[in-house]
Subunit: 338 residues, 2 copies
């Protein structure tokens, strides 16, 4: 692929990203100073199409980048401008709030990203069930209910109201919690559930029903909902390729459910840095017309969560990547002190 083909592919991709219209040779020659005539561009485009970088919606339409074309553009062609100062300020300001709750960070980040980019965004909260169980604690609320507080070795906590047998005294509850903590501290939270359901494994079995009730939840680390936040899903309606009600249904349906997002997350390992998945690269049929940009964030040293942007394939890749880079970075910094 020589320099001329590269610049044609780049110009075409950028034009299409802005216009959403198939780009023809004449347009390309007129708008971009390539120094060659439409006829030459046509020849080059024919090559690029043959090689799979471009596609034609139909004969006598302009060309459109294919997944492979976008991929090449993202990997090799596009410029990565530095982030603007205004934007940087805005992002930093978001994290300077006094509120230091994990859930708040997740919500704010999702909203911030979808606001800034104009695409739907998803933020996955720290994967609680991967944490290491440290201790358990009860706080009595009423005569037959208590707050169950679970804590990880990282210092994260989560709590929930459980109903308890009213004959248990506060002291007894505390004993139970201590015994449980002693027994299971150091274990991955994900595994808690399996252990507790084996009645032989613990001397706690006299209150088996209580534990069973409480730990179905503990093992999951709270409801599914709290682990994922979607912001701005309707942004997708602003892009003409989603004028089709069926496409809208697929994409919004995807954003609504929790599980598919995990599929995407699994496509790439939890490597640090910003990752791009284009069209079918996500291998999720519902969003085959979308691209996804993903970044991870850290808490201390460990990678604990993800920020994602879902948009049309003709996404503003460079911009989104830069935004996610900065956001995930600032978020990681903010979480360090949380």
């Amino acid at each position: 692929m020589d320099a001329r083909k590269r610049s044609i592919l780049q110009a075409l991709t950028e034009d299409y990203i802005l216009s959403a219209e198939p780009v023809g040779s004449r347009t390309l020659a007129r708008k971009y100073n390539l120094g060659i005539s439409p006829a030459t561009i046509r020849n080059e485009m024919a090559d690029l199409e043959e090689w799979g970088f471009l596609e034609q919606p139909h004969t006598s339409a302009g060309r459109v980048p294919s997944d492979k074309g976008y991929r090449f553009y993202v990997d090799e062609l596009m410029a990565r401008p530095a982030i603007g100062n205004d934007l940087l300020e805005r992002i930093r300001a978001t994290y300077q709030s006094r509120i230091r709750e994990l859930e708040w960070f997740v919500h704010q980040t999702a909203r911030l990203v979808s606001d800034i980019t104009g695409y739907p965004s998803i933020v996955l909260a720290p994967a609680w069930e991967l944490g290491i169980f440290s201790a358990l604690r009860f706080v009595r609320l009423g005569k037959d209910s208590a707050l169950l507080i679970m804590r990880t070795e990282d210092g994260l906590t989560q709590n929930r109201t459980v109903s308890i047998p009213s004959e248990l005294s506060l002291a007894q509850l505390n004993d139970l919690a201590q015994e449980f903590s002693r027994e299971f501290s150091g274990m991955a939270i994900r595994d808690l559930q399996n252990y507790i359901l084996d009645p032989l494994s613990t001397s706690l079995r006299q209150h088996w029903a209580l534990w069973q009730r409480a730990l179905g939840w503990l093992g999951h680390g709270g409801g599914e909902d709290e682990r994922m936040t979607v912001a701005g899903p309707l942004n997708i309606l602003n892009y003409p390729e989603f004028n089709d009600i069926d496409k809208v249904r697929r994409v919004l349906g995807f954003l609504e459910q929790d599980k598919a997002v995990e599929q995407i997350a699994k496509t790439r390992p939890m490597a640090q840095g910003v990752t791009v998945l284009i069209g079918t690269e996500t291998s999720v049929a519902d969003i085959k017309d979308c691209s996804v940009v993903t970044a991870t964030y850290r808490m201390g040293e460990a990678v604990v969560g993800r920020v994602m942007v879902v948009g049309p394939r003709r996404m503003q890749y460079a911009y989104v990547m830069t935004v996610l880079e900065v956001v995930s970075d600032e978020l990681s910094k903010a979480l360090k002190w949380a």
Copy 2:
């Protein structure tokens, strides 16, 4: 309005609810045993249109009920069949779970209702800020964070993590909480916020910053999000009148934001029972093509929340009303023991 007009309006409305197609005189005569000819029906329909119960999308189309037509249908014409046993069982089964958390009820109810009816549903959680403050309590989590638990006289609790000055001992915290509780118990939660911000009102002012941080939240009763749950918003896409992308945007946008729902809730007082708002009766422009069915639920004796269904104007009113009646009833029963 004589009996014949009534039966014509009823048949037409029911046919249109099922078919979404404007209904003509011939169809009406053929499908329903009205005992009169199309010509007579036409005359009657002309009257009904003149009186504002029917509308014609265009000359030479069939007729469609107007808001006024639906209103008359709902108030006077429609049959209210009893709920089926299967359905009743399903609803009851939902509330027989062991999980007794308020938030869980709200989520489950929203999902249940949208599943059963096939329309989007909204459930408003108990209006926390209307409750009466009873007591406050701290549970230390780490060296500079604590869990703040607030309790109402009804026995509802809510909690949140707050950061606290690390020099405060546990004993000091407890003293603070007790002092605060003594000072403010019996006050409506909604009013807490205003009082605490007046530095003269309390001897607690030495930890003013802490209280300020904590109580901005207490006064609101948690994030907005937790107070409202939407389930099945995409159900709206199944109805042909929402094939238009702009209508979809309006309705989904409405469901996404919190505030507009309150507008609707305010349209009708918190009276018990099931209420129907048709088309522009909601006076929310974004959902002028929708109808809303609303029911309230109780906790003990007091009405504390709402279950709502949002659907196209040609909604299955009778069915939805029956479902909401039963659901809100069962929910109220379940909450009595929560």
